[in-house]
């Protein structure tokens, strides 16, 4: 934390120095109005690109209507200024805030389709909304229609733009590295796994849309009071595309990349201005060329960091100190126990009765009954296609059952969203590993701690004390958990760089981090060799004891299942054909028949 604060101090100092220098140069006339104008346009473009990066780069949804939000903010701010009846310069911060809020309201409305839509369809919806905003501005009287709005006082100056750019960028950084930012990133990486890790994905989709819209609205307010004249056609599809290009060219997900691209793409047309009608031709060629030769963007997913640069320059350490690396040893030992011990009489944790689901005419599962007690290890076996994973999907409400009840500690959870089921205490892994591939091992686990932290997005953004204490605690716990799986040395590696076995373990660790009472493991030993399987068996037993969780295990490896399960459920063609101890199952003729017939 002290290191972090030092780094903040360094950045703030650098920002202040840069501001002083720039103001001096402007005052001296060394930066004339022309260059100042370009700087202001670039600043506004940076806010637009960085905010769009939140939806496109961090949330991973293609949004094609960002300029529409800017338009809403611009018009709202301009109308406020023209009707306030006070000196518009003194209330300007309020004006910008208002522009932002107006745009945020629209962002909220547009975020709602995100409940249902994904990918290109969502992209088209955002395009549609953006165009509707433009058509409405053209049709409304108070906006001046196609004639545009004129006579807006030109209040926007270097100080406003500079401070706001610094502020927005800072917010994006701090928000991005809080539990809320990680939640948004997890949706980009894998929405299904995010839900299963307890992230309310719908909420965070809308949250990201709204925040992005808010900042676009602020940029709109600045723009209106810079240009002085508003033209509804300036907030159309092509403008949105311009900002999209900035984000992609900068490297999706990289904030500093978006900043560099915004600077380059604002300066480029200026440099080309004397080519007059050849200008856009050259611009388009450069655009294609840049994309072809730097397909990952100017900076890729990396971030430029001042502290990183300094340490590189002074060679104090071979590479930049990675994020949040402070704790391991000392803190870990005094970390609190991960769970309170459970009662000894092993109450019923989960009971499912007459559970069934149909896909069209296909009965994937019928009349499935199971009861799991606290701390128990239950196996779920059956030939391929028997419906084992379907059981998991029903228990976690990835699919809604067509019949039956699921009770967790006596409470019916049918129809409860997946992330809430996770909070109730059911966590799972996936048959085909679903990690947050481009995030670090540590972040994979910390995302699952989301609901065990309470600090709000505002506290996270402003780095208030609760952020520090909760993050430190989460770090400590994450390292502790990773050590159980022997992954602590890999904590800073990207999840997809891990070997296969380690990825399986990480997925289990992530599921455990949600603090479950019941852990659903879907073929954890798939693809492992006998030694690894032995190792895994020991780990599972260890988990069961140490974390006090019950386990429902899907597995094909009979030695594993027979070795650790107390009871076993056998499924065939969506029907439960047997339930009993490993010995009973081994002798059950129906089970033998199903397996001999099946294989």
């Amino acid at each position: 934390m002290r290191k972090k604060l030092q780094s903040y101090g360094l950045n703030i100092l650098a920002l202040a120095l840069l501001y002083g220098l720039m103001s001096f140069l402007i005052g001296q006339g060394a930066i004339n109005k022309y260059y100042l104008g370009i700087l202001l346009s670039a600043g506004i473009a940076i806010i637009m690109a960085v905010s769009l990066n939140l939806t496109i780069g961090l949330l991973g949804e293609l949004a094609l209507g960002h300029a529409g939000f800017m338009g809403v903010g611009a018009y709202a701010a301009a109308l406020f200024t023209k009707n306030i009846g006070m000196d518009p310069a003194t209330v300007f911060p309020l004006t910008l805030l208002l522009g932002g809020l107006a745009a945020a309201v629209f962002g909220l409305i547009i975020g709602i389709p995100a409940l249902r839509l994904k990918g290109d369809y969502l992209a088209i919806i955002t395009l549609g909304f953006g165009e509707i905003i433009r058509v409405l501005i053209i049709n409304l009287d108070f906006t001046g229609g196609a004639r545009g709005m004129r006579g807006i006082p030109r209040i926007t100056n270097f100080t406003y733009v500079y401070v706001l750019v610094a502020l927005v960028v800072a917010v994006m950084f701090t928000l991005g590295r809080s539990r809320h930012g990680r939640a948004i990133l997890s949706i980009r990486e894998d929405p299904v796994a995010a839900e299963a890790s307890g992230i309310p994905t719908t909420y965070y989709r809308i949250f990201a849309f709204t925040v992005a819209a808010f900042f676009a609205g602020v940029a709109g307010g600045l723009y209106a009071h810079y240009v002085g004249v508003l033209d509804p056609n300036n907030f159309g599809f092509m403008k949105s595309i311009e900002y999209l290009v900035m984000v992609v060219l900068g490297g999706m997900g990289s904030i500093t990349g978006a900043i560099s691209a915004a600077l380059v793409l604002t300066a480029l047309p200026e440099l080309l201005r004397q080519f007059s009608e050849y200008r856009m031709l050259v611009y388009s060629l450069l655009l294609i060329g840049m994309m072809l030769f730097r397909p990952a963007g100017l900076l890729g997913i990396r971030e430029f960091s001042l502290t990183g640069l300094l340490s590189y320059v002074f060679r104090r350490c071979p590479h930049a100190e990675p994020e949040e690396r402070e704790m391991p040893q000392a803190v870990a030992q005094e970390a609190p126990p991960l769970r309170p011990p459970v009662a000894e009489d092993a109450p019923v944790l989960l009971s499912a009765q007459r559970l069934g689901i149909q896909f069209g005419g296909l009965k994937a599962l019928t009349d499935f009954d199971v009861t799991i007690h606290a701390g128990e290890i239950v196996g779920l076996i059956g030939p391929n296609g028997a419906g084992k994973t379907t059981v998991f999907n029903l228990l976690t409400n990835v699919y809604l059952p067509t019949s039956g009840v699921i009770e967790v500690e006596g409470v019916n959870v049918v129809g409860v969203p997946t992330h809430e089921i996770t909070q109730v205490g059911i966590a799972r892994t996936f048959q085909n590993i679903r990690l947050f591939r481009k995030l670090t091992v540590l972040d994979n686990v910390k995302i699952a701690y989301h609901n065990q932290m309470q600090y709000t997005s505002l506290e996270g953004t402003l780095r208030l004390p609760r952020y520090w204490s909760e993050e430190a605690r989460a770090n400590a716990r994450a390292y502790q958990l990773l050590r159980v799986f022997g992954l602590e040395k890999l904590a800073e590696e990207r999840a997809d760089s891990l070997p296969y076995g380690a990825q399986r373990k990480l997925e289990i660790a992530r599921a455990l981090a949600t603090n479950p009472k019941l852990l659903l493991l879907d073929e954890p030993a798939a693809g492992m060799n006998p030694i690894e399987t032995q190792d895994l068996m020991a780990t599972i037993r260890n988990i069961c004891d140490r974390f006090n969780v019950a386990i429902l295990l899907i597995e094909h490896d009979m030695s594993l299942v027979m070795g650790i399960c107390e009871r076993i459920v056998v499924l065939d063609y969506g029907q439960m054909i047997a339930l009993g101890t490993p010995d009973e199952i081994r002798r059950d003729p129906k089970v033998i028949g199903a397996y001999l017939g099946g294989e």
Binding site: I56, L62, P113, R116, L117, K118, D120, Y121, I124, I125, L127, G128, F129, E131, I132, V135, L136, N139, V192, F237, I241, L244, V245, V248, L249, M252, E277, Y278, M280, L281, Y283, S284, L285, L287, I288, M291, L292, P295, A296, T389, N393, V398, F430, N432
Partner: protein, 291 residues
């Protein structure tokens, strides 16, 4: 009466959208790429046909063929230069080069032909056809007929021929198709060639109906056709057709009976409502994600 007239107006606009949407949907179906340059290929087709007729003096049908050839070649070239190197990257990268290509074509055309609109010398002229007191323009009939015919031909091609099956296989799973011995590169080039050839036919019909060509003429019909393709369920050929007709008719009826000022807002509103009710478009298949 007025309703029927507006319906026919809508059908004509819709047929044009449908023709262009077919090209969008083909490329999208195979590569999941929104080919933003598709609208500008229409523009190139229109200028090619015009130059062929006015400067080279060749007849209308031959000029149409020339436009088809030039557009098909252009489509394949664009794919090879601007999209193919990025196949392994996220799709959004190709989207950006597509935007770059679109800007390039528009600005190049503007330099060569000047930004002023010009007249397209159409020979598709004939007396309006009168049915029960309704006048239907000759060109309207031709456009609707050609659009439906092409859709049927394309549908047959995709489902009945070897190349068509290869195309569907690639769209289903590129990797698996390659393992089955399908030549990926040829199949994708063919897709671009056919999609762009359709754009050329669309261009000739469009210009015959509206007799006006300009460097930015492709942008708006391109955008609307793309939306039509999404509305109908992108990647599905009859969906593109249906989406095109719905867009055209919705536009026309909105202008006729609700408000010509708000037509675009209403059309986009319909799109949003449809997608909210059926997220994969009207005829789109819902992709079930395997968990």
């Amino acid at each position: 009466m007025k309703f029927l007239q507006q319906l026919i107006n809508g059908l004509q606009v819709g047929s044009i959208y449908a023709l262009i949407a077919l090209g969008y949907t083909m490329v999208y179906g195979v590569l999941q790429l929104i080919n933003f340059a598709h609208g500008d290929i229409i523009m190139v087709g229109a200028y090619t046909a015009m130059v062929a007729m006015t400067m080279l003096g060749i007849p209308f049908w031959a000029a149409t063929l020339a436009a088809i050839a030039v557009c098909a070649a252009l489509g394949v070239t664009i794919d090879r230069i601007a999209y193919k190197p990025l196949r392994a990257m996220p799709r959004i990268n190709s989207l950006i080069t597509a935007i770059g290509v679109s800007l390039l074509l528009q600005n190049a055309a503007q330099l060569i032909f000047s930004p002023n609109p010009q007249t397209f010398p159409s020979e598709l002229k004939g007396a309006p056809i009168s049915i029960g007191g309704l006048d239907i323009g000759f060109i309207t009939v031709v456009i609707i007929f050609v659009a439906v015919l092409l859709m049927l031909l394309l549908q047959a091609f995709v489902h009945k021929t070897r190349m068509g099956k290869a195309m569907r296989a690639v769209s289903e799973d590129m990797g698996a198709a390659q393992l089955m011995g399908i030549n990926l590169s040829t199949t994708i080039s063919l897709t671009f060639a056919i999609g762009s050839a359709l754009a050329a036919i669309g261009a000739v019909l469009y210009c015959s109906a509206y007799s006006r060509i300009a460097p930015t003429m492709g942008a708006l019909p391109g955008l609307k056709a793309f939306i039509a393709a999404v509305l109908g369920g992108i990647g599905v050929l009859p969906g593109a057709m249906l989406g095109g007709f719905i867009m055209g008719i919705a536009e026309s009826l909105t202008k006729g009976f609700i408000s010509s000022q708000l037509a675009d807002a209403v059309v986009f509103g319909i799109l949003i409502v449809v997608l909210l009710v059926k997220p994969s478009g009207i005829l789109g298949r819902r992709a079930h994600e395997k968990v």
